[in-house]
């Protein structure tokens, strides 16, 4: 049953080529049509050592549709190994090559002894979206590239951390660095694989980790659990991206409990963070309380990660009140109850209604029918800008697609992320009325 995708906020599974690209030294090889990467591999910040212009691609044409494309894939991989200066090649399949039934596994096996490792993932667009594809790509790399358990010795205190999806999450980079800092402040050595200075060296360290933490409602959770099983290490699935004092302290406590730290030590760490956080809140609280253009009511239209994270922060730290919250990432049904439950765990027994919807028109219709008791706050994507203007809402564009603004390495996570988010929200208000 096709799904009406009006104002789409995700892309297809092969969009996870951006997950590959975020690992320095790795490059995707696309067994797909020539135009797929241009559509789903781009966006601000998608040029690095490689970019979609560089990705090898079999450029499936009518000839392959009729006669099969396995041999074209073989020559493409063969030549990619000669031409491209990469350390890891990840073959991703597109819709066409899957539908015509090319045996990609067999082709990739031929490169087992190649100078550089070649792995593969099935990522046809019709099989899932890029939130799912992200997990498939990670799991394939963990499965095919990383050695079996027992080869790499364990390193005490080393913690693998996974969170937002590269490029799909506009703040993936900054958030990951901030999560590293938070974990490090508990005395651990964080290990992440995306972005500057990580790459294959960090990837190779994954089997050595003592713990795995995945901070995500659902995306990438299965892949992290796969790691836990493969290396017999514990996995903490923490569904809430922590923003602000209340949630970040809770997160650090959860990590402390999971890793068996002394609670008093954890408290000493979080107390210091909170004191600093409230130094700022104290200085700006009059502004928050007295901004007459902003009511107490808000709505978030975003993926599960941000819908949940913003709701928790705005309710539990800022004392605001949630209207219906919208999750647009096509969350798999099995994860929906867990996520909906989290929206019921808010201070003062506040519960937020949450809807899993992918049709932007339907979402806007529901919001049009709700009361905000004044000028609402709407946090969403570029799609919601015009709509927010219609409601005279304060609009903050933090969710994908995020087209009319640039995010380089800023972060929304942790104590400092809460302050960043405050800057975004109250700047939107000030831009409309300085009273």
């Amino acid at each position: 049953m096709a799904n009406s995708l009006d104002q789409q906020r995700y892309k297809c599974a092969m969009g996870a080529m951006q997950t590959v690209q975020a690992i320095e030294g790795a490059i995707p090889i696309l067994h797909s049509g020539p135009g797929c990467a241009q559509k789903i591999g781009g966006g601000s910040g998608s040029s690095g050592k490689f970019s979609p212009n560089i990705f090898p691609c079999t450029s499936v044409s009518e000839k392959e549709v009729v006669f099969g494309g396995a041999e074209k894939l073989a020559t493409t991989i063969d030549n990619a190994l000669k031409i491209i200066d990469a350390e890891l090649f990840v073959v991703l399949t597109g819709c066409t090559s899957e539908l015509i039934g090319d045996d990609v596994e067999e082709v990739v096996k031929r490169f087992k002894g190649a100078e550089k490792p070649v792995v593969y993932v099935n990522t046809p667009g019709f099989k899932g979206n890029n939130f799912e594809g992200h997990g498939w790509v990670l799991q394939a790399i963990f499965d095919q590239y990383l050695p079996p358990a027992g080869v790499v010795p364990k390193q005490k205190g080393l913690v693998n951390i996974f969170s937002g999806i590269p490029q799909q999450d506009p703040f993936w980079y900054g958030n990951l660095r901030e999560l590293e800092k938070l974990i490090a402040s508990l005395g651990f050595e964080p290990n992440t694989i995306f972005g500057y200075g990580r790459g294959l060296e960090s990837l190779n360290k994954i089997p050595a980790a003592e713990f795995n933490i995945v901070v995500s409602p659902w995306a990438g959770v299965d892949a992290t659990k796969f790691l836990g099983t493969k290396y017999d290490t514990p996995v903490l699935h923490y569904p809430v991206l922590p923003i602000g004092a209340f949630e970040t302290t809770k997160f650090l406590q959860a990590v402390g409990e999971f890793t068996g730290l002394d609670p008093e030590f954890v408290t000493s760490v979080t107390d210091e963070y909170e004191r600093e956080f409230y130094y700022f809140i104290e200085r700006y609280s009059d502004l928050f309380l007295e901004m007459r253009i902003l009511s107490k009511r808000f709505t978030v239209i975003a993926d599960a990660q941000y819908a949940l994270a913003f709701t928790k922060f705005l309710v539990n730290d800022m004392g605001m009140f949630p209207n219906t919250q919208f999750i647009t990432d096509r969350t798999p049904v099995q994860f929906q109850p867990l996520i909906a439950e989290e929206f019921k765990k808010l201070n003062y027994d506040i519960e937020a209604d949450v809807q899993f919807l992918t049709d932007g028109y339907d979402i806007h219709q529901i919001i049009r029918g709700e009361e905000f008791g004044g000028f609402p706050l709407i946090i969403g994507s570029s799609w919601d800008k015009k709509f927010a203007a219609e409601l005279s809402a304060n609009f903050v564009n933090l969710a994908n697609p995020l087209i009319e603004r640039l995010v380089v390495n800023s972060s929304l996570v942790g104590y400092s992320g809460g302050l960043q988010l405050i800057e975004h929200i109250y700047s939107a208000g000030l831009a409309r009325l300085v009273l």
């Binding site: 049953m1 096709a2 799904n3 009406s4 995708l5 009006d6 789409q8 892309k11 297809c12 092969m14 969009g15 696309l30 049509g33 020539p34 135009g35 797929c36 241009q38 559509k39 789903i40 591999g41 781009g42 998608s46 040029s47 050592k49 490689f50 970019s51 979609p52 212009n53 560089i54 990705f55 090898p56 691609c57 079999t58 450029s59 499936v60 044409s61 392959e64 549709v65 020559t75 493409t76 030549n79 990619a80 000669k82 031409i83 491209i84 200066d85 990469a86 819709c95 066409t96 539908l99 015509i100 667009g125 019709f126 099989k127 979206n129 028109y361 570029s382 799609w383 697609p401 087209i403």
Partner: protein, 481 residues
């Protein structure tokens, strides 16, 4: 060309125009081979991601104001936003209420088909947005599984009081993404353009993003005509009158050939086929032909003189400063040979010109005029390739020729030249070198680029190129078979 408006599908450029995506040689050889029909395509045994025809087709029809596009495809293909449409409309103080809705095809749809869902989505979209026309687009997946979108289109076209139009966007059909321009034009010609009732003082102007709309409107006003820009900011109503215009012009031969020739063949609207209005010779030739067609030759001469008086002295003053610069060009074929001509007009030496594809004839069976012109005027025989936007070939060429400048016009292309230590000028806006005014700005832009190479050298110092040393030692065309 013989336009077949009974079929919703358009023959690909390979079949219709003998277009190719792989060639290495030189200007004289390419033109000679085009004339005597011996030109052969060279396939590649290694390729990099480039583009597909759907982007061009959907991008064009979705630029029309207040229509809906239902794209029957998985969620990667349908990744568009209408933000650009909003921004372009805001620029001319109008509104844009076009919607693009995907069908988010899943695995079971690929087995059982999903035409019923397409129908449901069309009903939903029609009710919600009340569009002036609905386009239903196919994709690679619907093509492979044999989904018959034409049947749904016919049924709904009958039922609704607005046009419902099929656009066939199976990306694997053609290696040439410009085939998508023809798909969009075909849909417009087939379903939106109506037979003429009365002639109007309008010139159809096919372009991309109309950045020079104010200037062109002003220039055309001097000839007593109004431009109808296509398709950004056009309406379904305006498109119905294209057959009543005095002429069709286009900013890019690759973009306009189907519509221009189609309107001429179907309704006798003359299509201006000169070299393009880039640079000075192009501007003169193009405007003179417009003047000839609409009977306003003296007005055109006056207009050209005015432009020359205004800009030529400064152009002549700055031109010597470009002396001795060398360039490599990598663009679509509608621009490569035009930009090559302009660079030569300015005294810059073109050491290699790469076009992403090559239409060895346009829809009137003639060799593209820019090539013809270049062969007659170029001081030297230029080395050429048809490079299908293959970055590895271009970087190999840049490394070998080490020009002062790389001129490109596709997103994400400039940075690679910079990493090789070569300054890049991004000729993205289609009006960047429009006429005398554009030429002057272009000269200034080039001079600024070559006189401050800080950004380029800083970045090049700190980055590694994406290819192996082995590759840079090869001939750029060895992956062509």
């Amino acid at each position: 060309m013989k336009l077949n408006l009974n079929n919703s599908a358009v023959p690909t450029r390979e079949n219709r125009l003998g277009s190719i995506t792989g060639y290495v040689g030189d200007l004289n050889d390419l033109v000679d081979q085009s004339r005597n029909g011996t030109l052969k395509n060279r396939e590649r045994c290694f390729s990099q991601s480039s583009g597909c025809l759907s982007g061009c087709a959907i991008g064009m029809v979705a630029a029309i104001r207040d229509v809906a596009v239902i794209y029957h495809a998985p969620s990667g293909c349908t990744l568009y936003t209408t933000i650009l449409g909003d921004q372009l409309a805001t620029r001319i103080n109008t509104s844009y209420d076009t919607h693009l809705v995907g069908t988010d095809m899943n695995e079971s749809d690929t087995v059982f088909g999903a035409l019923d869902s397409v129908r449901d989505i069309v009903y939903k979209v029609k009710k919600q947005y009340n569009p002036k026309a609905i386009f239903i687009a196919s994709s690679c997946v619907t093509g492979v599984i044999g989904e018959d979108i034409d049947s749904v289109v016919e049924e709904l076209d009958e039922e609704f009081d607005i046009p419902v139009i099929a656009i066939h966007c199976e990306g694997f059909k053609s290696r040439i993404w410009a085939s998508g321009f023809d798909i969009g034009d075909h849909a417009v010609l087939q379903h939106l353009v109506k037979p003429p009732v009365e002639k109007r003082n309008v010139i159809n102007f096919k372009n991309f993003f109309e950045s020079e709309r104010p200037q062109i409107t002003e220039l055309f006003a001097k000839l007593g005509v109004t431009p109808q820009f296509l398709y950004a900011n056009s309406t379904v109503e305006e498109l119905s009158h294209l057959s009543e215009s005095l002429a069709t012009v286009c900013i890019c031969g690759t973009l306009g050939t189907y519509l221009g020739n189609g309107l001429e063949e179907l309704y006798g609207v003359p299509y201006v086929r000169t070299i393009n209005p880039m640079g000075m010779a192009g501007f003169d030739a193009w405007f003179r032909e417009i003047g000839r067609i609409i009977g306003k030759e003296p007005e055109v001469e006056a207009l050209l003189q005015e432009e020359r008086d205004k800009y030529l002295p400064e152009i002549e003053r700055l031109k010597p400063e470009l002396e001795g610069l060398t360039a490599v060009i990598g663009m679509g074929p509608g621009y490569t040979y035009e930009v090559a001509r302009v660079l030569q007009e300015l005294g810059i030496k073109v050491v290699w010109a790469a076009a992403w594809h090559y239409d060895y004839k346009y829809d009137n069976n003639e060799v593209p005029p820019a090539l013809d012109y270049l062969q007659n005027t170029s001081p030297n025989n230029i080395e050429l390739s048809v490079a299908d936007q293959q970055n590895f070939e271009i970087m190999n060429i840049l490394k070998q020729y080490n020009p002062d400048l790389y001129f490109s016009r596709h997103p994400g292309s400039t940075v690679w030249a910079i990493k090789h230590g070569i300054s890049a000028v991004y000729v993205a806006d289609e009006y960047m070198i429009f006429g005398y005014k554009g030429t002057l700005n272009f000269i200034r832009n080039i001079l600024d680029t070559v006189r401050n190479r800080s950004f380029e050298t800083n970045l090049a110092k700190r980055t590694k190129t994406p290819y192996t040393d082995w590759w840079y030692d090869q001939e750029n065309h060895i992956m062509m078979v």
